[in-house]
Symmetry: C2
Subunit: 218 residues, 2 copies
């Protein structure tokens, strides 16, 4: 399969979420225009994206939901398990563990890490918390490839460096810091205050002044 | 001032985060190329964005940090207070309240809401939790314009409808659901599993196959 761009991958992940969470009861097929309407995308964009992963709808019925989900799982490499670490077991880190553990996906939280000795060796929502000093050992032993970073701003870059050193290949960063990572390590930044500040702007400006406030990029 | 596009606003919010969280000690000025390097953007992009809010660096010193922050606050409407509600006071909602309350920005969490009678009237990190039935009344009384939605998937659209009805103007959505909102209500979606799934893809594909995994759009 041809390499797929970052933007397309982001949309494929969103289609998958839609098919997993929001299919109307009793439906086995969906039309591209229904997916497009839910995502606020153009119908042609949806069809083009799904064609990039080798699927086509049929005119009378659209896309078969289960087959499309399986195809998206395959394209997104979600047909196999991925080990995930949560680094920083504060309020946010522990909440994310609970949230993700409740969802039971192929993205499995295999370990948490914290510098606080009071948290080390505790178990949060079924996930054991380790000392940061044991990062490399635990990442290797548990086959962890992804990390969710929920440490305070000042600790974020050193923690990210340690993750890279331990062989992590993707980081989801919640710390309000622009991380420097080698280009072969994938990075997504979810700095909540940045999103809120962006929303605040749009609440003070009339709708006609703004373009769609949604991320077409994902 | 001319209307600013969604993408530029997203970047301005990120510049502001950088200037707030990551200025090297002892510096009073930053060059555009330093901001650009931290954000993985082109230098020319940074200069163009900052010119859009009426600021220019000076050749020998770059941008004066405090003046630039003040200008960004003004442009992003962060020079005034915004009332924020957290809807859904489960693990994630309560963690977000604690996280945001610790930061003391002009984005102030004024109320939480939940359907669970066991949570109503409790106080989480200094924020009182109200019944969903009182949403409209509390939103009006507290001058709330923004909402963070952390309810389960099935509850997300009804909660969003209630928020719109109560006059909320921007929604930060953590529920794994593509919300239908009127176009005049701003929406940012932070569906964590979608981001993780996107990262998972990039961990299984060599770096040369992918474009930058960061959101240029913000």
């Amino acid at each position: 399969m041809k390499p797929i761009s970052d933007k397309v991958i982001g949309r494929l992940a969103r289609y998958r979420t839609l098919l997993t969470e929001q299919v109307p009861e009793g439906r086995t097929h969906l039309f591209s225009y229904e997916i497009a309407a839910a995502m606020r995308l153009a119908d042609s964009q949806v069809r083009r994206d799904l064609m990039a992963v080798g699927t086509r709808g049929v005119p009378q019925h659209g896309y078969e939901i289960e087959a499309l989900k399986a195809r998206l799982d395959d394209a997104l490499a979600l047909d196999r398990a991925h080990g995930v670490a949560v680094v920083g077991a504060g309020d946010l880190g522990r909440a994310l563990i609970a949230f993700l553990e409740a969802r039971r996906t192929t993205l499995a939280i295999r370990a948490a890490f914290d510098v606080d000795p009071a948290k080390v060796n505790r178990v949060f929502s079924g996930v054991k918390c380790h000392a940061m000093a044991d990062l490399e050992k635990v990442v290797a032993a548990e086959g962890i490839t992804l990390a969710i970073l929920c440490v305070p701003a000042a600790a974020a870059q050193p923690a990210a460096d340690a993750l890279v050193h331990a062989g992590i290949r993707g980081v989801l960063n919640f710390a309000p810091v622009a991380l420097r990572l080698p280009v072969q390590v994938a990075l997504e930044e979810l700095v909540i205050t940045t999103y809120l500040e962006k929303l605040a702007y749009f609440t003070t400006h009339p709708a006609k002044e703004r373009r769609n406030g949604r991320h077409d990029a994902r």
